[in-house]
Subunit: 249 residues, 2 copies
């Protein structure tokens, strides 16, 4: 049995303001929870069902493991479908991002609002070895349970920063700043010096007007020339993924 106070605490972590005030977030599912444990995070609370125990690497089980029923799991889950393992972890501190000393490509997200998109972007960045993502303060919180779910464990490996991106870009100096637009240079043609900032705009509005002046290279994923087709744009996480692929190709 999980106490009512505990259930209330966990449920509150669905909201950013409670995650901030308690300094905690929730990860669910075998892959996500295992990956955070492997990264060295120590769980504040850790709940697992019998079924979860069958799938979970026993060597990873923390000291404070609590075995619970599926019914209890239904009471604490923040997802549509309860998982077999749920862990409450301390929220990593938001570190400062130092744009001057980057030595690889980094992603910068200009108000990505959809949790599924952010989660997918973090997962894709991890696949392509991009380990820093700078999010505007208006971007959806990376520790939102739906984002955590969509990252499939990658949030434990990719560093996600939140900041005023215009302030950061003020210090970009000679660093190349790529921005995804519908009318830029073909991504396969553009110079790729091995480091730089790649800005992805929001789902609804693209790159904001106050961010655009910092872009040094506008880039585009070319649409296939075929009169029958007419998609106006690509989904934000798809566009990010294709750009990451091409920059690592």
């Amino acid at each position: 049995m999980i106490s009512k106070t505990r259930i209330k605490l966990i449920k509150s972590l669905n909201l950013k303001k409670y995650r901030k005030s308690y300094g905690l977030f929730v990860a669910e599912g075998v892959v996500n929870v295992s990956d955070f444990l492997k990264s060295g995070l120590e769980p504040e609370y850790f709940y697992i069902t019998d079924k979860g125990l069958e799938k979970f690497d026993n060597k990873l089980l923390p000291e404070n493991t609590a075995k619970v029923s599926s019914k209890d799991m239904e009471r604490i889950t923040l997802l549509k479908n309860p998982s077999e393992v749920l862990s409450v972890f301390p929220l990593p501190e938001n570190k400062n991002f130092d744009i001057k000393n980057i030595n690889d490509y980094v992603l910068m997200l200009d108000d990505i609002k959809d949790p599924g998109n952010l989660g997918t972007i973090i997962r894709t960045a991890d696949w392509f070895g991009i380990d820093k993502i700078i999010c505007s303060n208006e971007t959806v919180d990376a520790f939102n349970p739906k984002v955590v779910q969509a990252t499939m464990g990658s949030l434990s490996r990719v560093n996600v920063f939140y900041d005023d991106i215009v302030n950061i870009l003020h210090d970009s100096g000679n660093i190349e700043v790529y921005g995804a637009f519908l009318d830029g240079t073909d991504i396969k043609e553009v110079d790729k010096p091995g480091k730089g900032v790649i800005i992805i705009g929001s789902e609804a509005h693209g790159i904001s007007k106050n961010v655009e002046p910092f872009v040094t290279k506008k880039i585009t994923i070319p649409r296939f020339k075929n009169s029958k087709t007419g998609a106006e744009s690509l989904n934000a996480s798809v566009a990010t993924s294709i750009i990451c692929y091409e920059f690592r190709r």
Copy 2:
């Protein structure tokens, strides 16, 4: 005012069995509805709010346009957030897919379950000029309201077929059948003869055991070589998008 019977009918179209039995589906949002109208579909019912009228191309408005309040729209919407325009269209008939006569790349989806993924795949196919997608019968229905929403109008331009994909593959003859695996040939190295079937497996299980024998070329999106990263896989719609990009590059 919309009658209770009509509201009940529209709400029922959230489920595939009612879409099939009535032969109808629902599209919402200015882009989606406009694109279906442009493609020549004639709406059975068409509802629009005052706000919707401001954004909608008036030349596209059908004869049976019904102006409704936002409150009415809340009563009929199948989405989380009601749109400013909602149209009920006749369901296109499921045509037979002829694998022998393909002259371009086509996508084949082996049990894609997530509506957002299918919608994103249809939207991306449209961008890259791939106008045929063959779905296994177990793939989520393309006329599911969440899929329609995620396609952003592209469902009006891309032909989506449902069939027993194993049966279809039996007739593939000399056609190249690419399958996305974690251990195939790098997508940038593989021969691309200008036509072929590209199979994408399900989110949870990849390409099924009974489909795999038909694959003539296993392909892979290479992961960036970097010990720090560890994503196990890519999201299904992201993988599809990167493959489409590379095959059109």
